[in-house]
Amino acid sequence: MSANLSAIFYLISGVLFILALRGLSSPETSRQGNFFGILGMTIAITVTFLSVGSFSSGLIYVLIFLLIGGLIGAFIAYKIPMTAMPELVAGFHSLVGLSAVFVAISAFLNPEAFNLGLPGDIKLASLIEMSIGAAVGAITFSGSIIAFLKLQGIMSGSPITFKGQHFFNASLLISIIVLTYLLCSTQSSNFFWIMLAVSFLIGFLLIIPIGGADMPVVISMLNSYSGWAAAGIGFTLENSALIITGALVGSSGAILSYIMCKGMNRSFFNVILGGFGATESASSGSKEQRPVKSGNAEDAAFLMKNASSVIIVPGYGMAVAQAQHALREMVDTLKKNDIKVTYAIHPVAGRMPGHMNVLLAEANVPYDEVFELEEINNDFANADVAFVIGANDVTNPSAKNDPQSPIYGMPVLDVEKCKSVLFVKRSLSPGYAGIDNDLFYKENTLMLFADAKKMTEDITKNL
């Protein structure tokens, strides 16, 4: 296949990828969008095989590795529980990063295969593009591995900081630029390897100081990086499908990071520099024992039975307890009693963008009953019961009325405006941000101390 023809096919698959993202603007068109994505990928892979043309003995290995990877991927996709989506996405990001590194290494070792010149005499532009792709890929890889370990709970979610951290990271970043310059001027492979090693180290150091609650930002950011890495490699390979995709994914991740930061009222740099939640909340000095009303499943069932509208506020705790199915059963019972039930989702509920929506969808909750913060926040004043399950900081009124609070200014759900609030929680412990929640001590709040799933099931029994 001629180079021009294959370039046109790569362009077509790039356009199909755009349509794949476009489809996600509504659930109705989303499945068609995913189909376009698969089609685009199939075209890109087929064209690559055809354009290489000369089928050497390498072909059989290429197919074997493709098959092995494909089977593993399909198996994971089929088996993974929806609650583990953040870990899965972090894991997948690390693979994109590592394959970008591997492709860059291959191109560096055998530039002739990619028309980039000869080993030791690679075109300058290609060398720079390759280095960018490899460095960003390496950062994506090691950063995602740390994010994965933190989400999986293998590594503690609390930030790891040390003295001079920012200075150290900054000097490493500068050293990458210097190493790339040395690589370009000397063509010596040593600089390439050192540059890769430093990049892996930076990815690792960049993510360790970021706390568990900031994971939505981290995942989005790594999503963005994986795109820029792909684009860098796309420039090296002069492949428009890769350039288009890299740019799409890069800007997608950047927008998601922005939305997540806005959801927490924090600047991007504030999150990246990390350390949030490391120091136990400064205002915790005045930690007098305040009275709390606690109740059991019967009390909760009684309150809800007499309500005419209920708003459910799910959070990460619901995912941990796997309570989404139990919750939907409870809601079904409520609906049978002609009670209006809606769901309110905060942008940063859960550990990744849209996490709660997927869990509710998994439990067969119709998506037209699920609302975003801005859509539903005014409804709390008219609702009878707010049922907070596994959420905490996103309901904290001190974000609105206590300028001393670390989360002051963060948009929160106006849960306290409801006639009564049911708060399912295992204990009075503060949330991830380490801040006490005034809502616990409000007159109209009833705390339900139990595992989210068990409590929801018990309430259903009592309805």
Binding site: F17, I18, L21, R22, L24, P27, S30, G37, G40, M41, F55, S56, G58, F65, L66, G69, G70, A74, I76, A77, M82, L88, V89, F92, L95, S99, V103, S106, A107, L109, N110, E112, A113, F114, I219, G227, A230, A231, G234, F235, L237, E238, S240, A241, I243, T245, A247, V249, G250, S251, S252, I255, L256, M352, G354, N357, N364, P366, D368, E372
Partner: protein
């Protein structure tokens, strides 16, 4: 004077960033998780580079290091492609079952 082809690629890149910007802002927030998994899958189109590296010039079975890195990259990217699209499909399927309980 002839324009360097790099400039054309750069144009594609810059314009695609803008397309990405507008397309992604129109994605409904409830589909942000599928958005992440599908962007994951499509960024693995990097597999085209891996395939070129894996197939690069040899007629016998003496693989160079470059080939081997290509093979490894192929399997990593394939995990992502199949895993990413299938898990997205699985999620989107759930959003479909909407009126089931009515």
């Amino acid at each position: 004077m002839e324009i360097d082809p790099f400039i054309f690629r750069l144009s594609i890149f810059i314009l695609s960033i803008f397309i990405g910007y507008y397309v992604v802002w129109s994605v409904t927030p409830s589909l942000h998780t599928p958005l992440m998994s599908v962007t994951n899958a499509i960024s693995s189109v990097i597999i085209v580079g891996a395939i070129i590296a894996g197939l690069a010039g040899n007629s016998d079975s003496n693989f160079t290091n470059s080939n081997i890195f290509g093979f490894l990259a192929i399997s990593l990217a394939a995990v992502n492609i199949f895993g990413g699209f299938l898990v997205t499909q699985r999620m989107l399927q759930m959003y479909k079952k909407k009126k089931l309980n009515k």
